[in-house]
């Protein structure tokens, strides 16, 4: 029985996702010089914030959570843009349209890969922030890990979708942050507030509220971007 190329069943969703993740992570590993550079960029950004606000340790401690997440956000512009650069340069998105890869798999794979990278970045930055800003950590480690992960995921969902758009357009470098940042504002607010409470203690019990905001943000945007991604990479 013959079937045309396009009629073959696409790989199952999970297998497709795993394939995309593996490919993207492998590419990042192969170009780990670039990955290292991005991590150093994050450090540098953090440092610049500290220099900009001066040596007053009280202010630095107050704003540490904010700097942390801003450093992650600015670095994400680099890493998100990178995740589609290969596709853009090789016109690989055209190729992907001919293959039976479900755009949903492509989105999930890339977004998960991006999340893992940003989570790793945030984890590395926390001890640096704590040391340089003189903060103590009062909250639970588990909760901290959860917030870092939720924040990374929140950046990655719309970030992956917008990176896909931006990679196909000129002025792609400025378009990605221009589109992404307004959408992320609630998530950044939630992540910074939660992190600050984890650093400084939570006398009024607001941590749950910010965590809920992050969870709700992620639920909304992962679902929405998953559904809409097809329109962004189709012909």
């Amino acid at each position: 029985m013959t079937s045309s190329f396009a009629e073959r069943r696409p790989a199952s969703l999970v297998a497709g996702v795993r394939a995309v993740i593996n490919k993207d992570l492998l590419l990042e590993w192969r170009s780990r010089a670039r990955v290292n550079a991005t991590i150093f960029f994050a450090f540098l950004t953090l440092l610049l914030f500290l220099f900009a606000v001066g040596p007053d340790t009280h202010i630095m401690a107050q704003s540490a959570a904010g700097y942390l997440w801003l450093a992650v956000l600015l670095s994400s512009v680099l890493s998100l843009g990178e995740s589609f650069r290969m596709e853009a340069e090789n016109a690989a998105l055209e190729g992907l349209r001919l293959l039976p890869v479900d755009p949903k798999a492509m989105f999930l794979g890339k977004a998960i890969a991006n999340t893992l990278f940003l989570f790793l970045l945030a984890v590395i930055l926390v001890p640096v922030t704590v040391a340089m800003c003189g903060v103590e950590v009062q909250g639970s480690l588990m909760h901290g890990v959860a917030i870092l992960f939720l924040g990374a995921a929140a950046i990655s969902a719309p970030g992956t979708l917008y990176a896909a758009i931006a990679s196909q357009v000129r002025a792609r470098d400025v378009l990605l942050p221009l589109l992404l940042f307004p959408v992320l504002i609630p998530a950044i607010i939630g992540a910074v507030k939660a992190t600050k409470l984890l650093f400084a203690g939570d006398p009024m019990g607001d941590l749950g509220r910010w965590t809920a905001l992050l969870i709700f943000f992620n639920a909304t945007y992962w679902l929405l971007c998953l559904l809409l991604f097809g329109r962004v990479v189709e012909e």
Partner: protein, 224 residues
């Protein structure tokens, strides 16, 4: 019928604005606490309301486009997006001036103003995307996606900004409004809405004409 609207709507809008302004500037009494500065709300509130309406229209039109590939919907989304940024900017500037006049600061973490600013920036990006994409199909699909993502964020933005500004913040925008002030505000809102519909129709016409022209051009040569 269409000609009647084409003529009548601008006239009605302008008349409404004039009446509204006269009421707001002269006939409405000075407010007890804030004196005359409060009159800014007679332009600030209608502009903000119209901006929000415009963004919702843009979102609805975008949603329609994703289901039906209607170029009228795409043109409407373009028009509404741009008008939302216009009226939202006006609302924001006026809000800042009002803040300076009443509380002495150009900006406070007022949830409404902050949420509006986020939407305005978001749709400014929407406009930038449209300007940077040349193929009509892609432009329409991508900007529709962006508009829907922005609209979906509105409730999340609202709560985030409200909690961020302080959990026990009270909204001091409505102090003591007597009936006449309320009526003046209502008339201004109505007049602004008419103005908005007038602008929207014009801007829609411009957008639709552009798309029609782009779609009627001969397609580029396919690669052999």
């Amino acid at each position: 019928m269409k000609r009647a609207i084409d003529f009548g709507l601008p006239l009605l809008a302008i008349a409404g604005i004039v009446v509204g302004e006269i009421m707001g500037l002269w006939i409405a009494p000075a407010e007890r606490h804030m004196g005359d500065v409060y009159r800014i709300i007679y332009v600030h509130v209608p502009a903000a309301w119209v901006a929000l309406l415009s963004f919702l229209i843009a979102a609805a039109a975008s949603f329609t486009f994703l289901f039906k590939t209607s170029w009228a919907a795409d043109a409407l989304a373009e028009a509404a997006g741009e008008l939302g940024v216009l009226f939202g900017t006006v609302a924001y500037i006026l809000g800042a001036i009002w803040g300076k006049g009443t509380w002495g600061v150009w900006w406070t973490p007022d949830p409404k103003l902050t949420a509006m600013a986020i939407l305005v920036f978001g749709f400014a990006g929407y406009i930038a995307l449209r300007n940077l994409t040349e193929e009509p199909e892609r432009r329409a699909a991508w900007s529709a996606v962006v508009a829907i993502i922005l609209a979906a964020g509105i409730p999340i933005v609202w709560f985030a900004v409200r909690w961020w500004g302080g959990l026990h913040q009270n909204q001091s925008t409505r102090d003591s409004m007597n009936v006449f002030m309320g009526a003046t505000l209502g008339i201004n809102v109505l007049a602004f809405t008419l103005l908005f519909v007038w602008f929207l129709r014009m801007r829609y016409r411009v957008a639709k004409a552009k798309i029609d022209e782009e779609l009627s051009e001969p397609p580029e040569q396919e690669l052999a």
